[in-house]
Symmetry: C3
Subunit: 214 residues, 3 copies
């Protein structure tokens, strides 16, 4: 997976990311009192939205999410689990945030590498990697009519670790030093920064409020 | 149309679906006090959004909606009609819901068959068919800043009949028994279930509220 | 740029449009108290959203916005400028509206011509040109959870000048009379009508309210 070409083994981390993202999408639908269709819609959008946007941009159609039936099955199962077990999931919300951080790291590295393999420039590849990682969550929030958690000043850093991780991957790639092991290390770094941000309530800066300015 | 390759005759049902979806999009714009641009935007998005998403996912570019000028003309005319005749349209709202149910059935079957012809797996094809049928309405609601009618618990079943119909189509296809006549029958089944849901106020289930659970 | 194939010189007007659109996207993020990630997201979406939608529809992947790294760099720099200098930008808001009108004209003509070069029919090309021009702003408003300025009845005409300009371009093209100079003239006409609409508070018509109608 970390080379962008899913193989028999390589898709495992990808599917792990899809599971945790799907599980993070379903509870919002339940909180907003959506019916079963809404639960499935948010689970699918959260889990697969980022990868679908990435593949449409790269012209890799149909997107992996539609080319492989297991990619669609996973969020369907996650939605069914959330439908029944949502009280248990709510009690596990901290655990889910940790899994979500793992998904963030994995999706970001996979997306960046796939973009580089398609010949995108380092800057474009890094941004597409970040979009891969955060796109599903933004799509979920737009569909549920929430202000995207990504941009709320009371949210802990989410995109910033992904930006840093994508930057590391493109730097390694340009130096010819990229390997799957180093890609996993970059994903782990994103995971670690995100978890630290959650623990210490690190927030993203807002626009400068200067004295005397309107 | 029901083989996914629009021919001289085959596009007629497709255009019927576009007409009713366009007409269902414009009144929301009028209720929300949008200007003429907003009326056109919601009519076009509702009528063509699902098909455009389907074609982008399948890599069939430009989407049929842009490759054929009549597909764009229809919602423009519908928006013009709604602009003038919206009081009459409001009095016909029950009739419009019936036409909308017909569009739901036709779009779902067309989308599923086109996805199967492009080699998608049965599960992927069924889901893309459902997205074709409901995508325009979701896009309309997102643009108009409404909670998608698709997921509101007080909405009658909308996606569920489409899921069932898409399942019938892929089962027939896998058995080698699919024909245009059976496709039309599946569309009619979707239409019938949707009309029954409207008549008897069938609702989609919400997440289980178990005794003693948070 | 006005032939749809960006060359060394030809991209200059394109980049001008991207700069002004990016700068128009960032202040909304600041007003809504988004953090730095939100400022960048709205700047990028506003500046590049319309062109990305155009290129996805035309099947020209990766979109120019991702194929050329400078297209992404421009909104990043604009977001950084807005992050620091937003009080000054707010004082320049009228100036920014004038620049935005220039971007509207340029994007509309570029989008229409590119669609014609890809073989779209005149109607489809004109509509895709308008989508290119207004798509970024709609995406910005959807992400920021605002009713799209495009459709609010208290907004001055925005899409209407673009529709007229796109119509002129396709008419010239069909007559075989299109040239870069005339394309620039059409962009200037869009710019002029938009500025007149701002100055005289021209509004788009809302649906007819007839006496005695519901």
């Amino acid at each position: 997976m970390l080379t962008g070409q899913p193989g028999a083994v390589g898709t495992a981390p990808d599917l792990v990311g899809i599971v945790v993202f799907a599980i993070s999408g379903a509870p919002m639908a339940i909180r907003r009192d959506f019916d079963i269709v809404g639960i499935v819609m948010l689970a699918v959008a959260t889990a697969l939205g980022g990868g679908i946007i990435r593949d449409l941009v790269l012209g890799d159609t149909p997107p992996v999410a539609f080319a492989r039936w297991d990619y669609l099955l996973v969020p369907l199962v996650a939605a069914a689990v959330a439908f029944v077990a949502h009280p248990e999931l709510q009690r596990l919300s901290l655990t889910l945030l940790v899994f979500d951080a793992a998904g963030l790291g994995l999706f970001c590295v996979v997306g960046t590498v796939k973009a580089l393999e398609h010949g995108l420039s380092p800057l474009s590849a890094a941004i597409l990697g970040v979009i891969t990682a955060v796109g599903g969550g933004v799509l979920r929030d737009v569909l549920a009519r929430e202000t995207p958690a990504l941009v709320r000043p009371d949210s802990e850093l989410y995109a910033v670790p992904a930006v840093v991780g994508a930057g590391i991957v493109v730097a390694l790639w340009e130096l010819g030093a990229y390997s799957t092991a180093l890609g996993l290390a970059a994903a782990a770094a994103i995971f670690a920064v995100r978890c630290l941000a959650l623990r210490h309530h690190w927030r993203g800066p807002r626009a400068w409020r200067r004295v005397g300015a309107a």
